[in-house]
Symmetry: C2
Subunit: 594 residues, 2 copies
């Protein structure tokens, strides 16, 4: 189906918005009136700019307070409408959004509403314009889709139809039964369909709508369920996004538009309007790659953690460190990246790397140019919204190039012994792209976003959200500070899972590693909250091991000091514990600041 986006959903000037929408692959736009008013382009110039960009103008919006008014007010509304229809003629837009009245002088009289909308439609028809009438969730008398549709049906005017908006409908909906009747509207009377999702917030609906809307799949609404109902009517207009969001208003328009288009691709897949290549869920983390201007401190940290440098890339300054099932690459080039050690790339073990890349491309993940020599393995990679490079590596037994073949042995074989695996990776997100990141990992990689949690850093709240594969083979924790910050505490980290974190911590210490010291008060509190076996708590206290418990099991974890932007977590999950020790995060963050 055709896709469209309201200019109010994107940041910048009107021309920046149009360019971003076009580049992200939208077929059309809704022109939000304030964007037009603030633009130095004439309506004719906007029309021609859209045509050059391959965009149709699917809707002009909004007109407000036009129905169920005292005659004198309605006359003024008609006067305004005449001006706007003339503007639309110049713009080449043939559908206008009319929102249900909120004016205090509007009266509760459906017959009057239908009669006045009919008169407005007469005027519109004379200018070749169609009226798409929508119930605002906070409309004074008309605030539900079915009420708006009853008035449209009563008016019975060919130039008058209804506009359905998923926010206005679903913000007031108690369940699927509230939207079932939509399927009985004749499709040709649905003049427009606006889509937005939103987090489930118990708050004033107007504020909720104006500040917290998000793209389908980023919130808590069943947007796909609504679209299914609409499709049953035979509606064949565009799927159009109309999202008022304080963060999107600030974020760069290009990435937001791509995020928006991705949300519609996923939605179309969900409602069987499109069948992109199926997601190929990664089964594990083949490697984590650290980029560093100075390999020594990283090598020292990994060495103390029991890793051995076992191989070196044949053509690049990349060392491979291994311990049991965990592989870490240490990359000292390219030299221009001098911003400190960071987690730059992740190798995802994929049962079908080629399929994974097809999926990623179809879902608009930026495919990275291959920077490799002719003899290197033909690994494909895409960039996550935070810039992390995600490589699709063949899982054991899967078809695909063997990235390990690019490495030659360069040291003794890894020490046999304790279990070690990459339990999870924690990546810092720019606050403009937190929702985008979750949707990216869900749609491109088929990972499942978990609940968002707030974490109290001493200097501001952080938010974090894990995206995981169902079996826990891949877990990525996305986190974001409350505001832009270069603070190294808001760092990326690598978490290694082990079967005995106490032994791992002791080993690390004995090898000269420094564990993050945890305040004694924390352990006094643990003693108040839980009962421990004799000596257990003293061991944790000695090593700086944190403890948590959920309905499924137990979690013990400790932290190294930070190298550049990266630190390491050692952890032990027992009995199916599902979380990441969130109740301990505030204490850990304070210790990192200290």
């Amino acid at each position: 189906m055709r896709t469209s986006i309201a200019t109010v959903s994107l940041s910048g000037s009107l021309t920046e918005k149009l360019t971003a929408a076009s580049r992200a692959g939208f077929d059309g736009v809704e022109i939000f009136e304030n964007d037009l008013l603030a633009s130095p382009l004439t309506p004719e110039e906007i029309r021609s700019r859209c045509a050059d960009l391959g965009l149709t103008i699917d809707l002009y919006q909004p007109m407000r307070d036009t129905e169920a008014l005292p005659e004198e007010d309605f006359a003024r509304a008609l006067r305004r409408a005449r001006h706007k229809f003339e503007l639309m003629r110049r713009l080449g837009a043939d559908t206008v959004l009319v929102c249900s009245s909120v004016a205090p002088q509007a009266v509760d009289d459906d017959d009057l509403a239908a009669a006045q909308l009919s008169r407005l439609a007469d005027l519109a028809a004379g200018s070749g314009v169609r009226i798409a009438y929508e119930a605002l969730a906070w409309g004074r008398h008309i605030s539900t889709w079915d009420h708006a549709w009853r008035v449209v049906r009563a008016a019975g005017h060919p130039a008058l139809g209804t506009c359905l908006d998923s926010f206005h409908i679903l913000s007031r909906s108690a369940g699927p039964e509230d939207v079932e009747g939509i399927a009985r509207i004749p499709g040709e009377k649905i003049f427009f369909l606006q889509l937005a999702d939103a987090p489930r917030l118990a708050m004033d609906v107007l504020q909720w709508s104006r500040h917290y809307r998000c793209f389908p799949g980023q919130g808590g609404f069943d947007v796909a369920g609504l679209v299914r109902q609409v499709l049953r009517t035979g509606y064949d207009g565009p799927l159009s996004l109309e999202v008022f969001n304080d963060v999107f208003r600030q974020a760069e328009a290009g990435p937001t538009a791509r995020d928006a288009q991705r949300s519609l691709l996923l939605l179309q897949e969900e409602v069987a309007l499109a069948a992109p290549p199926a997601p190929v869920v990664p089964t594990g983390v083949a490697f984590a790659e650290l980029l560093t201007p100075d390999a020594q401190p990283v090598a020292a940290l990994l060495g103390a953690l029991g890793f051995t440098r076992t191989a070196r890339h044949r053509g690049k300054p990349v060392d491979l460190f291994q311990r049991d099932q965990a592989t870490v690459l240490v990359n000292t080039g390219p030299a221009e990246r001098r911003d400190g050690t960071r987690l730059a790339a992740v190798g995802l073990a994929s049962p079908d790397p080629a399929g994974a890349v097809r999926r990623a491309e179809a879902l608009l993940a930026p495919v990275l140019p291959r920077r490799r020599a002719a003899e290197d393995a033909a690994l494909e990679a895409v960039a996550a919204p935070d810039g992390t490079e995600l490589f699709f590596c063949a899982a054991p037994g899967a078809d695909g190039p063997d990235w390990r073949a690019d490495f030659e042995a360069a040291g003794p074989a890894p020490e046999a012994g304790a279990v070690c695996r990459i339990d999870h990776l924690a990546l810092t997100q720019h606050w403009h792209h937190f929702d985008e990141a979750a949707l990216f990992h869900r749609s491109v990689l088929g990972l499942r976003p978990q609940e968002s949690v707030d974490v109290a850093d001493p200097y501001g709240l952080q938010r974090s959200r894990a995206v995981t594969s169902d079996d826990g083979g891949v877990r990525i924790v996305l986190s974001v500070g409350a505001a832009p910050s270069d603070d190294t505490v808001h760092a990326q980290h690598l978490a290694f899972g082990t079967d005995d974190v106490v032994a791992a911590a002791r080993r690390f210490r004995a090898a000269g590693g420094h564990l993050l010291p945890i305040p004694a008060n924390y352990y006094d509190d643990l003693a108040a909250r839980f009962e421990f076996a004799d000596g257990e708590l003293e061991t944790y206290r000695e090593l700086g091991i944190l403890y948590d418990r959920d309905a499924y099991g137990e979690f013990r974890h400790c932290y190294t000091r930070t190298v550049g932007h990266v630190f390491v977590e050692l952890l032990q999950r027992d009995g199916g514990y599902r979380g990441y020790g969130a109740p301990n995060a505030a204490v850990r963050l304070a210790a990192q600041h200290a």
Copy 2:
């Protein structure tokens, strides 16, 4: 009365919080458990740090889920409590906050609640601890102050009293009648009083409480009314602030603590607990002072606006420009300030400059060191939260030094002719200090904060709020971007009022000034919304004059280009128009970006 603040209200480590509280003049603190857990200091060290800083520990908080529980859960709660009472002994804290249970296993049984609280109080009394029991607004069964008080009364235990929290009470209160009964609680049974204000938001009360609390006087609650009820009981404990606020969590602790103490000073004045020197409301703006590394572009702008350089400071590189009632000082020193032209100081015409300074000092406004020669007028100044220097100048006829005596004539007398006055000044605030700024201007200067308005800049929402004297003699518009930004569009501005903005704009243009061009689409929309006399709209379109209308009158305004961080607005208010042209701000901001 003694003042106290919960450590959770301030940003940083526990020691940073304690230091900030002490410096701002608090007598005591509530120690928030998570701050203690994350601190490397032992309880004994915290106790001694507080003593060194002159702070008592008035409350340890919180204990949760301790009453109306199945016996097994209650036994665990008692076990936790034993640990916490021991901690409090080490800390030297004798009162603990116990919040009403939210646990799903809590039962709706007041007798059980009273019996278990009584047992808890027995245990507490043995450790010299008192229990202050508080109803959380979202408590499972006990969620109102009167319900909590009934349970405390029924328990009848000397070590058990109630804690009143203005947020929990007022967030659920429909009117003053809901808090009248508080005056009937015996004062000695109110063990603690926690104060917070909040903006009136229709949202989930827990989210509202955890993220949006603010200091008394910054929100929409009648905190003073509640305190009056509590004082009638004979309560003689501290007035203690407990504010969970996402912005305060990030802002520097020092200014936040001072803002907090200022809010309590104002509150104590309102309830007649304190009588600081009365506010002296300024009657006008004596001058606006621009600091610039290069006087030429500023002088050119002022010249085109019809200002004349009439005087020069006797000892400093400061020129005085005058037009009718408007005075602008242009300061080219000190040389170290090279960050572009900015509005650095405002001279406020005061009917009692000495009284105004006493008020400012009493309300914790930082009094600026005088940087003047022996012969200069002894002008006093304070720093606003945004750093703007506010000088208290003698209004005509008032006692006080004559700042004009520091200037000697340096040019021709000002041109007689068109009316010109400083209508308002617009100052950009750091987003951490927006609420602080409004409270500062209200408490220190006696100005009245108006409603906050959201303004859609193309690159993010801005918020702005005017503080004004009742007769409009002083109007300051405080504005803040959605995020930190050095963008010059988020600029300060000087708005000059005139009786004929069309003439003023024409004069400015004829003198070579450049007015901000406004898009033609804006004028097409004006034509749709309003009817104008023949030629009127064409004049506005030609000059770039914006138009607005409210219930009281009309507003016409236009803008110059920006010099450094400053631009000028020319405006005409007719018939008592009260606003600042907010509906035009989005168009103006877009034009400034273009």
